[in-house]
């Protein structure tokens, strides 16, 4: 079937089988491999993307469901000239990235939270990333990085987006 949607701000048109998930479509057809497959059953959050402003597991979304809608993947989160944005830089600064596999999902979970709650509590940050598993168990640093970014943006800091 034909899929027309907005991906990271650009109009995309592509063919995909109707029984394909958004995750497989992003990785195998569009070759955007930043979105990771972990459990493939909606438990781990590695495949998180933002669909019409809401964080979802792309392994549970059928490709047809995104027709006419807006999707943001990790490839759409960056600073000017492709450099890290402030949240990504904070992940680096706070040592939040270990093996890295969960990080695209974590960044999107962080962005989805900060878009609706600019000044979250630590508890709210933990709730926001509760569906994102980090098997290196570096949660403390991840929460620190999101909290620091929230404070930075709350004080009027530029989020460094292009």
């Amino acid at each position: 079937m034909k899929i027309d949607f907005t991906l990271n701000g650009s109009e995309i048109s592509a063919e995909a089988p109707a029984d394909m998930t958004l995750l497989a479509f992003l990785r195998d057809i569009l070759a955007l491999t930043g979105t990771k497959e972990g459990c493939a059953v909606g438990e781990c959050g590695a495949c998180s993307v933002i669909l019409d402003g809401r964080l979802v597991n792309s392994c549970l979304v059928l490709v047809g469901q995104v027709n006419g809608r807006d999707v943001i993947t990790i490839e759409g989160i960056h600073g000017p000239n492709g450099k890290p944005n402030d949240l990504q830089q904070a992940f680096i600064d706070y040592g939040a990235v270990q093996c890295g596999y969960c990080i695209p999902g974590m960044i999107l979970a962080g962005e989805a939270l900060l878009a609706t709650k600019p000044n979250p509590t630590r508890h709210e940050i933990r709730t926001a990333i509760a569906g994102n598993l980090c098997r290196c168990t570096g949660y403390q640093q991840i929460v620190d990085a999101i909290q620091a970014t929230a404070a930075h943006r709350f004080q009027g800091g530029d989020n460094g987006r292009a």
């Binding site: 909606g42 959050g45 979802v56 059928l62 490709v63 047809g64 469901q65 509760a130 569906g131």
Partner: protein, 298 residues
């Protein structure tokens, strides 16, 4: 490779029901997809076409009609949690939906889907039964309102006919002064499948006498229902610890009658007792607060 199933998006309830009942093709409604997409991987033969109902605007409406709150079946758990009308009238449902999965699942999964899938551990079911909620079930020839407690027959079994669609869930706003609560026990805080849940609602009069109580344990019995024997023992009485313990005992007896004593009973009975005590403490104002030892939800 041949596609296992086709995808079609319905534009209205009428359109969805028509597509679901087209002869010669096995169709299933797709709402949040958090259950169906996985089920189709395990059992590819359950359908050869999905009808996406998740973008039908009327299925997302949450509104008040007379003294009832109507929730479109494709309202996501997140939409239910954020709806002021539900926050004000049914905290038990907001709390139950907030316990579902994690944010990703709550952004996708829908109230109608939770009822139609009827998992034994579905968090919204005890809350809906506690609210005496009804589901509107539409087929090409009928529109019926069925109590959720009757609609769900047991784990993954409902009265929804083939080709039928839940279009909304509705409850009568509980009388002023009602307090409600949802308590969940899982193996961890987030992303946990419920081991046991309790949805409870109660109301006292000015003298403190209990005038109304609804107690619905979840994940405890095959059919989700109000435990009326325990409820009746509380009505017309003043809340106190001995009474709450008596009610909790009746709940345990009723669970054993409905579900039989099972390998898990040794664990579930004392745990459910504590959860019932916590729920009753939460919804009723007592003079003595001795039940603190049973602990309170945070």
């Amino acid at each position: 490779m041949k596609e296992r199933f086709d995808y079609l998006r319905a534009s209205s309830i009428h359109d969805a029901v028509k597509l679901l009942n087209e002869p010669g093709v096995k169709s299933r409604p797709l709402s949040g997809g958090t259950d169906l997409v996985l089920l189709m991987r395990e059992s590819p033969l359950i359908c050869n076409r999905v009808i996406d109902i998740s973008l039908i605007p009327e299925l997302h409406r949450i509104y008040q009609q007379d003294n009832q709150i109507v929730i479109g079946a494709s309202a996501t758990f997140s939409e239910v949690i954020e709806a002021q009308l539900i926050q004000q009238t049914a905290p038990v449902l907001v709390q139950a939906c907030a316990q579902v999965g994690a944010v990703q699942i709550r952004n996708m999964g829908t109230l109608g889907g939770n009822v139609a899938n009827a998992a034994a551990c579905a968090d919204s079911l005890p809350a809906l039964v506690c609210l005496n909620a009804k589901a509107t079930v539409v087929t090409p020839v009928s529109t019926q309102k069925i109590a959720v407690s009757d609609l769900v027959l047991g784990p993954n079994r409902t009265l929804i006919p083939q080709g039928g669609l839940i279009t909304d869930l509705r409850y009568t706003i509980p009388p002023a002064g009602s307090q409600s609560v949802f308590i969940k026990l899982g193996r961890r805080n987030a992303m946990a499948i419920s081991r046991l849940t309790v949805a409870a609602l109660g109301r006292q009069d000015d003298s403190g006498t209990i005038r109304e109580v609804r107690l619905v344990p979840g994940s405890a019995t095959p059919q989700i229902r109000r435990f009326s024997t325990a409820e009746e023992c509380l009505i017309g009485r003043l809340p106190e610890e001995a009474l709450f313990r008596q009610a909790a005992e009746l709940v345990i007896e009723e669970m054993a009658q409905l579900a039989g004593r099972r390998w898990s009973s040794e664990f579930k009975e004392p745990v459910l007792t504590t959860m019932i005590l916590r729920a009753l403490n939460k919804i009723f104002d007592k003079d003595d607060k001795d039940i603190e030892m049973a602990g309170k939800p945070k």
